[in-house]
């Protein structure tokens, strides 16, 4: 059961606010301000504009963590608050609270780190002028002693745990675009097998830094202008920053504290296409298999799916193969299809997290948001019900697709509670 939600990205800092922005058709992708991009071939990104101090009021901690961690911790604590976790814990006796903490899991999807973390060494390398000995000798004068700890990929697991006293089973998944979905999936499975009673699944990422943007551009992955998924003229993806989190509880745990139940996770599927880091199979093999596995675990027929939230990253082959896969699995009866990255960019390791949070928020409002920048659907995807305008979902169930480097795919099915 999903009992708490949190999200932050370029479009806003709460799930409802982000969804409102999407429904208004607002594109929150803008010129990246972090460096002088005048001569750059790619200048767009979905940057979170809030200062770290606005998000986390802990100056000491902020010195130790990066932006990706800030948005992750912020989204996590928003989700914990919305689930009423701390209020509930105040009512517990100390021994009960210990066992609450030990049965509360943390599953985080994140990047393994980016290039800018290493730039702290550039002044030293420059000064050393080719002498490795000098680098060793002057290390302590030049680089912050906490450099390694500041750059640990598992910082959000650590700090969300310490700040909120959560001590259960945990994982930090560094699996590119499927990291966020896998964090939800592993949290879901930990509840099913009884490793935890409650868990938080967090995805966070901040890939908008020069070297990453340039590499993506050189690899042909970035859009010339807008991110226009499924459009004839689509030209690629745009990176974005953000985080999203979900609090999961077993039905028993949620009911025991009369928690608000937003939705239920019904099934998942994870597959790999195994053809290398960047290639995507045009026949949609991995996506189709992931969807089938998720339907099977959920015990659902295709007609019972109310809406599909695609990965929709705007690259030519990814969008096309997703469409092909959906057609293969759903035949002619396909529910409305939408996606969200066009509004705030591809959050990479947080993509599956924010897509799930927004899918759920949209289901609760009974709406399939339109893909605002879509003008001409790719002719080869013409027969798919891709939402050019907002529509109603067929049922209260959503299928969410995520994809990542290495030919990895995940599918997740959730059902919103009626309200």
């Amino acid at each position: 059961m999903i009992t708490g939600l949190g999200a932050i990205c370029a479009s806003g800092k709460q799930p409802e606010q982000i969804l409102d922005s999407l429904l208004d058709g607002t594109i929150s992708i803008a010129e990246i301000g972090g460096w002088d991009g005048e001569n750059w071939p790619c200048r767009l990104g979905g940057v979170v504009g809030f200062s770290p101090r606005e998000l986390i009021n802990d100056r000491k901690l902020l010195k130790l963590i990066k932006k990706t961690d800030v948005v992750g911790i912020y989204a996590a604590e928003q989700a914990l608050n919305s689930a009423g976790i701390s209020t509930y814990r105040e009512s517990l006796a100390s021994a009960d609270d210990d066992s609450f903490a030990e049965r509360f899991g943390l599953y985080v999807g994140t990047s393994g780190g980016y290039y800018d973390t290493q730039y702290d060494f550039l002044p030293l390398i420059s000064e050393a002028n080719g002498s490795m000995q000098t680098i060793g000798e002057r290390l302590g004068e030049s680089v912050n002693p906490m450099w390694l700890l500041g750059n640990l990929p598992n910082n959000v697991v650590c700090h969300v745990g310490i700040r909120n006293k959560l001590k259960g089973a945990n994982a930090c998944i560094t699996n590119h675009g499927t990291s966020g979905s896998l964090s939800i999936i592993e949290a879901f499975e930990s509840l099913r097998i009884g490793d935890t009673d409650r868990a938080i699944a967090i995805g966070h990422d901040a890939p908008v830094e020069p070297q990453t943007v340039l590499y993506y551009q050189k690899a042909g992955l970035l859009a010339d202008a807008q991110l226009t998924p499924f459009d004839t003229d689509r030209s690629g993806c745009i990176l974005g920053e953000g985080g999203a989190a979900l609090v999961l509880e077993t039905l028993e745990a949620a009911e025991s504290r009369s928690a608000p139940i937003h939705a239920e996770i019904l099934g998942k599927g994870c597959t790999s296409e195994a053809e290398g880091l960047l290639p995507v199979r045009v026949d949609g093999d991995g996506v189709a298999r992931a969807i089938c596995l998720a339907l099977e675990q959920a015990g659902l027929e295709t007609q019972q799916i109310g809406m599909i939230v695609c990965h929709g990253n705007g690259t030519r082959t990814s969008d096309l193969s997703e469409g092909v896969a959906i057609r293969r699995v759903f035949g002619t009866q396909i529910p409305p299809i939408t996606c969200f990255k066009w509004a705030f960019g591809h959050l990479l390791a947080a993509a599956g997290s924010i897509d799930t949070v927004l899918a759920l928020t949209a289901l609760q409002r009974g709406i399939v948001p339109a893909i605002a920048p879509l003008s001409n659907i790719d002719p080869s995807l013409q027969e798919l019900p891709i939402a050019k305008v907002a529509r109603e979902p067929i049922s209260n169930t959503a299928l969410i697709l995520s994809r990542g480097f290495g030919g990895q795919n995940s599918a997740l099915i959730i059902r919103a509670s009626s309200r």
Partner: protein, 430 residues
């Protein structure tokens, strides 16, 4: 109806470690307690406060890394992964095929993203001549334009190389919980088979932080031993005089197989991967509580998950990094978990000979636990001469012990507070 959880057999293993380029060599070195620690040769470490590490020696493992096309986009640690995975797959005598590739999964513990130091130096020359990055200069930098450098440095690249090589089409994942990564990856493999997502999992970890940046990170934290003149005894877990860990590198992979399938094909089963436990210390980034809180829960959960009582455990492969705080917390945890059985429990940290393999450590030590069961021998905790009274465990010292190991346990405790514990059982037991 209560259904029995599916059991998991370890049917193949491969290692590349500072004490051997393969499984057999590594095991032999461990039994003879041959230290893998030596002066750093991979780069000029003369200016660093720490100048020793446990490097992988020689390059005979390279014959197992596969086609050039793959290894071209591989880092040093990816090459360790490719070699040890191949050894594990060959050792298991089974590999994914067109019919069952989708029932295979892959779960890897990987290190932090980093680029090779010469690449960072090139970037500095080309794009940060004065030390500050000039983004306009970066546009024409050779490194920032190199698609191979891009692929090599992606966190999913190690996993991607493996799944492509073996056409693994099921559940694939990379995890990073610092020093607990390898243990978590193997534990994830167990869960994937138990819950029916996979029938086979290639699970392991790989890492190499013996680079100027990796060493610098640990030197700055004063976490590594400065015994530059006595490399062989620098790593001395649980010794009163210990002063930090020794950085190692390498990889370990296991082929995990659903028990019935393994039995049916007559596979040699080293051991059963019987349980895993996982907890968060939530105390400090670098330490768990001196009381053992954190590791205690991971160990207890692993036993519970395996359906094993503490007194059934014969051998504990301790995380035992050789840092004062870690060793004390872990020893305290073992006392709580094992109670009076502690005096009968053989304990050693194999980091005493091969150093700390960081993200690979848990996977390599999982393989070592399976070998203790398979061979009935327990490797020593080297360099333990003055016992820390706060670490009063039944350490195996001096020479490897002949002992029938029915159940073995492996701990991996990471920076960030993640604790992973694995439990292994002799294959004949039920």
């Amino acid at each position: 109806m209560v259904t029995q959880p599916r059991r998991v057999a370890i049917t193949g293993m491969g290692l590349v470690t500072p004490v051997g380029n393969n499984l057999g060599e590594t095991w032999q070195s461990l039994l003879e307690a041959r230290s893998g620690v030596a002066p750093i040769s991979l780069f000029d470490a003369s200016g660093f406060s720490v100048r020793i590490a446990a490097e992988v020696k020689g390059d005979t493992y390279l014959s197992n890394t596969g086609h050039k096309r793959l290894s071209k986009a591989a880092t040093r640690s990816h090459l360790f992964a490719l070699a040890s995975a191949e050894e594990a797959i060959q050792d298991a005598g089974i590999r994914p095929d067109a019919a069952n590739g989708h029932r295979w999964g892959c779960s890897v513990g990987t290190g932090m993203v980093s680029v090779d130091f010469p690449e960072l130096e090139a970037l500095q020359r080309e794009a940060a001549p004065a030390g500050e990055l000039d983004t306009d200069l970066m546009l024409s930098s050779s490194i920032a334009s190199d698609p191979i450098a891009f692929c090599r440095s992606q966190s999913a690249q190690g996993l991607s190389l493996l799944v492509e090589r073996y056409a693994i089409k099921g559940y694939t994942t990379s995890v990073h919980t610092a020093c607990a990564s390898g243990g978590q990856a193997v534990g994830t493999g167990l869960k994937l088979i138990r819950r029916g997502d996979c029938d086979y999992v290639l699970a392991g970890g790989f890492d190499s932080m013996i680079s100027p940046l990796g060493l610098a990170g640990f030197c700055l934290l004063n976490a590594v031993s400065t015994d530059n003149h006595n490399p062989h005894t620098a790593s001395r877990p649980f010794d009163a005089s210990r002063n930090g860990f020794v950085l190692g590198e390498g990889a370990g992979f296991l082929v995990l197989e659903e028990w019935e399938a393994a039995v049916k094909r007559g596979a040699r089963i080293y051991a059963e991967l019987a349980g895993e436990g996982n907890s968060l210390s939530s105390y400090r980034i670098t330490d768990s509580h001196p009381s053992g809180d954190g590791p205690i829960q991971a160990m207890q959960q692993a036993l519970q998950s395996a359906g094993i009582f503490p007194e059934q455990v014969d051998y504990l492969n301790a995380h035992g990094t050789s840092t004062p705080m870690n060793d004390r917390s872990e020893a305290a945890a073992a006392h709580v978990v094992f109670g009076s059985h502690i005096k009968d429990l053989s304990v050693s940290s194999t980091k005493s000979t091969m150093g700390h393999l960081i993200a690979a450590a848990g996977a390599v030590e999982a393989a070592i636990c399976a070998l203790t069961i398979h061979h009935g021998k327990v490797p020593i905790n080297a360099n333990l001469t003055q016992r820390d009274p706060d670490c009063n465990l039944n350490f195996i010292c001096d020479k490897a012990k002949d002992q029938a190991v029915r159940v073995a346990m492996s701990n991996s405790l990471g920076f960030g507070g993640s604790n992973s514990c694995l439990v292994f059982r002799e294959p004949g037991a039920s």
